[in-house]
Amino acid sequence: MTETGKLVEQILSGDAQAFETLIEEHKALVSHVVFRMIANPQDREDISQEVFIKVYQNLADFRFEAKLSTWIAQIAYNLAINYLRQKKMVSLDVLELADDSEGHLVSENMQPDKTVEQKDISRLLKTEIDNLPVQFRVIVTLFYLDQMGYNEIGKILNLPEGTVKSYLFRARKLLKDRLLSKYQVEDIWQ
């Protein structure tokens, strides 16, 4: 039996310490998904708790057809989407993009007049990630922070692999274009 299998068995037999281990092992993944999707600090914590409660309640149904981390991330994504829908913060046209999605590096009506320091780049990037469509945000996060592949991300978001790859490409292009259009990052990005 795998380590994950043993852990699940221990939890199902009522081992609280094993459940705490599962939480510790997966809380970074859950926070990556939930924090990228939800802005309110208290709601982030509440939804993250709800994720693990649901994991616990449904663990007996987990059939190891996917990785445990994939299953947990699916629950986190679904709960966060549900929250956003309840708050009317996301709609069916979630992937509708602004007109600048295929824009040029520097738009004509926006001068890159803000000089930024290297230390600001992370903050600016975070802001621009938060401005992406919600699915783009999650894809970028799972790909870079959790080193997941297209297939695994596709399972979590219920999207075909090719769509995940296409969204990732569009997300990176949007980020690059928006950063270059708003800030003078050329000097420090060379």
């Binding site: 914590e45 409660i53 149904d61 219920n158």
Partner: protein, 98 residues
């Protein structure tokens, strides 16, 4: 065949290690083409930034508090109706699809 410029998709694929273009051909062009070199460097830095830990943090005692608060009340109940089964989670997701 004359090479114009690498497309942004080609640059991203190269950085992802998924390019069908040979490394030497790609890099030789970068050496001689300032336009592609600049675009490549932008993406290279973007990739670096995306890998940085955003330091999302749940409360320090998140796991312990959750376990002590929750497990005292519940045990795994695969057949229970409370409050949603995993199959319902997937059904909900289907409803959420655009």
């Amino acid at each position: 065949m004359a090479i114009n410029h690498w497309s942004e998709e080609q640059i991203q694929e190269f950085l992802d290690g998924e390019s069908s273009i040979s490394k030497s051909l790609f890099e030789d062009h970068l050496k001689t083409c300032p336009v592609c070199r600049k675009s490549f460097q932008y993406y290279q830095n973007l990739y670096r930034g995306l890998k940085q830990d955003p330091k999302f943090q749940l409360s320090a005692n998140f796991a312990q508090a959750l376990v002590s608060g929750f497990l005292n009340l519940h045990q795994p109940q695969p057949d229970s109706n409370f409050p949603i089964s995993s199959s319902e989670v997937w059904e909900l997701r289907l409803c959420w699809e655009p």
